[in-house]
Subunit: 338 residues, 2 copies
């Protein structure tokens, strides 16, 4: 439909004041789900390029864990249908655009896939905490590589699980997109955490603890239903210690986080009948000034897909959530996991 | 799940700096679709409360068109499962909330349904332009009633068509939600149109015309693919004349808009195989100052549902659009309608 030879672009919507990525290559990506909305997770898939033994069907590998040998546990690879192109560094603003205040940048960036397990039927909560910790440490390592590119400003780590959470591949994986701009959600968040800090001298995420919203806690993390959750049963896992960037995580804390994430996903599966879900690591832009460090604090946002977004949410950016967070927290706190 | 006796609340997410509506009543609303994702539009539905003859199964009527008699063409009714309550006027900010900068308002507002046709199988593009114009004039009349409430700041008009566009009812209808706050998308838009006006002395929507993006035009309106469309095949219908608020529309222009909307939806059905879709009327807050009038300009945003949102979009507020707007515009411009 769109010409396959067009390079991707990032454009600023000057009316809504936000950035949009245009990527012709994305329209050609395949799906291994029969229907975009059935959560069928095949236990084996002879055709799956993410399975062990099919490495040659994938886009190039960036690294694996362990670092060498055929028996990998995790692979970080290039996305075969990337939203952004890693070959456009320093091409900058595009000329010859229509007037009316429109701005377009070339679509430089990185789009990687993290294959979380060599086996098709093994999903994140099936792994032990140490192996989930390895996935977090793989994210961290990749961020450290990406931040060597001066023009990369932000890395979004996210996971789509299940067709109605957007997944086109059922094999357990997550993705990392590195952008040359700071996206709107991130800068808005930075601004509002700054405002809170200005008023109180405190980090708003260090302050967030409130008993009725607490689900679980581990040595270094808490899981909560946020007070104004956008989505029903949305969960945040937050470091108890002040930490601005996700990639400050160390091996010990990664395992602790793995344990709490595993518990949280298992509880969600029991309470909500194994829903499709997304998770996003919400961290500030890679470069923030030292004065911003006291009020930036990363967290992991988990969103089970329980409803469809309608015109109201699209029009206003304001969501309707039918479940009070304190009720969601209570239910999730009390789920018993055998 | 959430206690049915709780009153709805609007809360501010002070981390993301946005408002969220909490409405326990919403969790009880019914669906007449077998599956949330199958676009089955039954031609007749003996159980449908929106069909003529079933008025007693609906929440109270606000008005009908024509104004009296059993043979209505349009009914504006209360939503039986409203997101906000019309009985909470002037209750204001709620006390006794947890600390950490959290703010909660009582959930005052109006949530109405506009039944666009008495017959189940008749959808908007099946109506003639005059009757579509009547629907727009019904919106206008209802906005004029709602703006008598001093605490109502914004009215979002939207339509969900098809299950994967969020619809739970297949009978042709749209909705109006009146809010006591200005939602984030609306204030962001106001700010950025102001900035453009400050730099150029012009309204950015009066300036938007660009031949490669044009789809169609009528006497008073143009339809375009916006330069930085968030979604594939997103279409905006914009008044050619400068008009700040939707409810400035008059009867003649409403019919002209009806003609262009009918053409646009029919083209979309042919080109994109009758997709589920949303439309939203994007207008500024009800009260804007006279200095804001030169740069606020309403439009109708149409979004066919062709893809599922994933973790990247949720995390960043930045969307990936696989189709260049100039390609979408060309295809839609060239569709021939018999
Ligand atoms: N052989 C191979 N080698 C390497 N990579 C391969 C590959 N085969 C497939 N891939 C890639 O693997 C990825 C799998 O990703 P997901 O299943 O999480 O969702 P996807 O990115 O398709 O889209 C979802 O997530 C994005 C981002 O949130 C949304 O834009 C979109 O609408 C939603 O459906 C795809 O991006 C695909 O390009
Ligand atoms: N007898 C009756 N009398 C009066 N009203 C009746 C009624 N029976 C049903 N209704 C109402 O009719 C409305 C029909 O609306 P839609 O089909 O457009 O989507 P809905 O609002 O359910 O949710 C979609 O849109 C909202 C807003 O965008 C999203 O929050 C949500 O996730 C998405 O599924 C519902 O709001 C329902 O409450």
């Amino acid at each position: 439909m769109a010409s396959p030879n067009r390079i991707p672009e990032i454009r600023k919507d000057t009316v809504n004041n936000r950035w949009v990525i245009f990527s012709p290559a994305r329209s050609r990506r395949p799906s291994d789900f029969k229907s975009k909305s059935n959560l069928i997770n095949p236990t084996s898939q002879p055709e799956c390029p993410f399975c062990i033994g099919h490495e040659h069907e994938c886009a190039p590998e960036i690294f694996r864990v362990p670092a060498s040998g055929p028996d990998w546990r995790i692979r970080v690879i290039q996305n075969l249908y990337p939203a952004l192109s890693r070959d456009l560094e320093s091409s900058g603003e595009l000329a010859g655009r229509p007037g009316g205040g429109s701005v377009a940048l070339s679509g430089f960036g990185f789009h990687d896939v993290v294959i979380e397990s060599p086996v098709h039927a093994v999903h994140l909560p099936d792994l032990d905490p140490v192996k989930i910790g390895d996935v977090f440490m793989a994210y961290k390592k990749r961020i450290e590589q990406l931040q060597c590119h001066d023009s990369i400003q932000y890395v979004q780590i996210f996971k789509n699980h299940g067709a109605s959470a957007g997944a086109s591949m059922s094999h357990s994986h997550s993705q990392m997109i590195a952008l040359p701009v700071v996206p709107p959600t991130v800068s808005t968040r930075l601004d509002s955490m700054k405002e809170y800090f200005g008023q109180t001298g405190k980090c708003s995420l260090c302050e967030i603890r409130f008993d009725a919203l607490l689900i679980d806690e581990s040595i270094h993390f808490i899981s909560i239903s946020p007070f104004a959750a956008t989505f029903p049963f949305e969960i945040w896992i937050i470091p108890r210690y002040h930490s601005s960037h996700f990639h400050e995580l160390d091996g010990v804390k990664a395992i602790d986080l793995g344990r709490l994430l595993k518990l949280t996903l298992r509880k969600m599966n029991v309470q909500l009948n194994s829903p499709p879900f997304n998770f996003m690591i919400q961290s500030p832009p890679l470069q923030v000034s030292p004065t911003q460090l006291p009020y930036t604090h990363w967290f992991l946002q988990i969103v089970p897909q329980l409803s469809v977004v309608g015109g109201f949410e699209m029009g206003t950016g304001c969501y309707i959530n039918p479940v009070f967070p304190e009720d969601a927290a209570k239910l999730l706190r009390e789920v018993s996991i055998s």
